[in-house]
């Protein structure tokens, strides 16, 4: 890997790692009596470890100029592996945290394993670890292919990928130690947040520099979504994490906002993290890999543009639907509700666009589990956006809020849409990246598909049931006009559903493990001579029969 870097880039890597190691050392020293000291050591060790890797390859000969006529895919390959590793880790903690609600003594009496600490471990690992790495890996691939330009340099993609994973490690290890800002999906403390901003700026610069070098005059729509993802996540992250640290040697900080302003800011962030992290980026994935795999152009390019601006514009207003009937002024609640409902239009336009693309290729969907992953993802995207708009209506929200229905809705989106489109894209991408004819076993892709689908369905149905029962029990009155059920009654009623959801999660985890094995075996199997020439053979008929294209 180091052999691919130029001498200058190797020196730059060492310089950056030295600075990082010094930062780690400073934190380790300043935070001797605080968890931040531990994190200082984590940073220091990561930096020093990577320095050894760079040193080991430092005296390898310079890469030849010929590399510039190829795309730079090494970071994408590593990103795919990291994404799958985070998926298994995060899903494992998801199963555990779900099991805790059915069997609360599974914490084994330790502090680090209590529900409140491992719940963010689960959410961060799957959203940022799995989702984030999948987004970075695929975006670097899509960006180069659609602009027909190589990444501007070989250092910054590594900085982004590894720096981002350092952020994830700091976040997750922090939760075990009890470090959290308590802002949902923005739990990491101030120093990790600052580090993410630096990483993110470099990520943005890769994008903008590659776009500036593009040979294709038009920017393909998938890149629009990836761009929106990068830009808006930056805005959200910076604003929501504004805080005053207690001291340089303390991990603890106090949020700049309080009370109602903090609630609005937090859910403006929270909802748009769903919109721009879990939707826009993955739509970018869908708009590239689905047509590519199906061998058919997207049904309507115009529709994809309209829905793009619709989503960018409207999602921003919708966050306040998380705060219905609270102390937030009512006009803000109403505004949030209205936009949430209107948001259904661009959302369904995207889902419909994806499904209509498959018209005429349904036989491929039947035979090819990879494409079926993407098809089912589009269906779940449509379902969960409908459900989301529905739940944003005040009257519905009065029932659904605070219950497992919300959890079910989130997982319909996260498992059914985000994870499915990622798995589909990764299965399409792995043979291309490692120059293999196809995945090691298409049977195992099939197995993964059915495990993932059945796991999602079991999970979502369990949570719908428990959520609605819970919501109804809380508001049921008996004949004498008093509340019919105590809170504990509703908790007891949840027990069977909590077991069912654990089972659903377990199926999904097993699927991801099958996927890891399959990807590992694909990488290990020898490349074919056909693939060695660099052509993409693991794709349906249309592309392999093309004549000479412009630029060849």
């Amino acid at each position: 890997m180091i052999a691919g870097l130029t001498k200058l880039e190797r020196q730059l890597s060492l310089a950056v790692l030295t600075v990082l190691a010094l930062c780690g050392l400073a934190f380790a020293a300043a935070g001797r009596n605080d968890p931040i000291g531990t994190h200082g050591f984590v940073i220091l060790l990561s930096a020093v470890g990577l320095m050894f890797v760079v040193m080991a390859g430092y005296y390898a000969p310079e890469p030849d100029k010929e590399r510039l006529s190829r795309y730079y895919d090494d970071p994408t390959k590593v990103g795919i592996i990291l994404a799958m590793a985070w998926a298994v880790f995060g899903l494992f903690f998801g199963v555990w945290v779900a099991a805790l609600l059915a069997w609360p003594d599974l914490t084994f009496d330790a502090a680090w394993s209590s529900f409140g600490r491992i719940r963010p471990v689960h959410t961060t690992s799957v959203i940022f670890g799995f989702g984030g790495n999948a987004l970075i890996a695929t975006s670097l691939h899509v960006l180069q292919r659609t602009t027909r330009a190589r990444l501007p340099d070989q250092f910054s993609p590594w900085f982004v990928l590894l720096g981002y994973n350092l952020f994830c490690v700091l976040a997750v290890s922090g939760y075990f130690m009890g470090l959290t800002q308590s802002k949902e999906y923005a739990e990491p403390e101030w120093y990790a947040d600052i580090w993410l901003v630096i990483v993110w700026v470099v990520y943005f610069l890769i994008y903008i520099r590659t776009l500036a070098r593009r040979k294709e005059p038009h920017i393909y729509v998938a890149n629009w979504y990836y761009m929106a993802f990068i830009l808006v996540v930056a805005i959200l992250h910076i604003v929501n994490n504004l805080a005053v640290p207690v001291s340089f040697g303390s991990a603890k900080s106090y949020s700049l906002f309080s009370g109602v302003q903090d609630a609005m800011t937090q859910w403006w962030y929270g909802h748009n993290a769903v919109a721009f992290f879990l939707t826009a980026g993955f739509l970018g994935m869908m708009y590239y890999y689905l047509p590519k795999r199906a061998g058919r152009p997207i049904f309507s390019y115009r529709l994809s543009i309209i829905s793009f601006w619709g989503i960018v514009f409207m999602y921003m207003w919708a966050g306040s639907h998380h705060l219905h009937y609270t102390a937030l002024p009512q006009w803000v609640q109403t505004l949030g509700m209205t936009f949430s409902v209107v948001l259904l239009v661009p959302s369904w336009a995207s889902a419909g666009n994806a499904l209509a693309t498959l018209n005429g290729a349904w036989h491929k969907v039947r035979d090819d589990a990879t494409l079926r992953f993407m098809m089912v993802a589009a269906v779940f995207y449509g379902l969960s956006t409908f459900e989301g708009s529905f739940m944003a209506i005040r009257a519905v929200n009065s029932l659904s809020h605070y219950t497992d229905w919300t959890v079910g809705h989130v997982h319909a989106g996260a498992l059914g849409w985000v994870a499915m489109i990622s798995f589909g894209s990764i299965y399409a991408l792995v043979p291309w990246m490692w120059k293999r004819e196809r995945m090691y076993s298409s049977r195992l892709v099939e197995v993964h598909f059915w495990l993932a689908l059945s796991g999602t369905v079991v999970y979502v149905f369990a949570m719908w049931n428990s959520g609605i029962i819970q919501g109804l029990m809380w508001r049921t009155y008996n004949e004498s006009g008093t509340l019919a059920y105590s809170f504990i009654d509703s908790l007891v009623a949840m027990h069977p559903y909590y077991i069912a959801r654990t089972l659903g999660g377990l199926l999904f985890l097993l699927g991801a493990m099958v996927g890891c094995y399959n990807i590992w075996m694909t990488i290990r199997q020898p490349g074919t001579s056909l693939a060695a020439e660099g052509s993409e053979v693991d794709e349906p008929a249309l592309a392999t029969s093309t004549a000479l294209q412009a630029g060849e």
Partner: protein, 56 residues
Amino acid sequence: MDLDYGTVVAFSKSWGLFYLIALAIGVLAYTFCPRNKKRFDRAKESILDKDDKPWK
């Protein structure tokens, strides 16, 4: 002008609507402008091209 709560809310509510309409018109004009049709059609097909190396 006194920037109190009521003023800001009134401004947000009224101009927000105009902004929404203007944006919608802008996006629709761009999307359906006949001049862009060729570009979009090309973009749509372009990802299916063979793309094994960057263009010179």
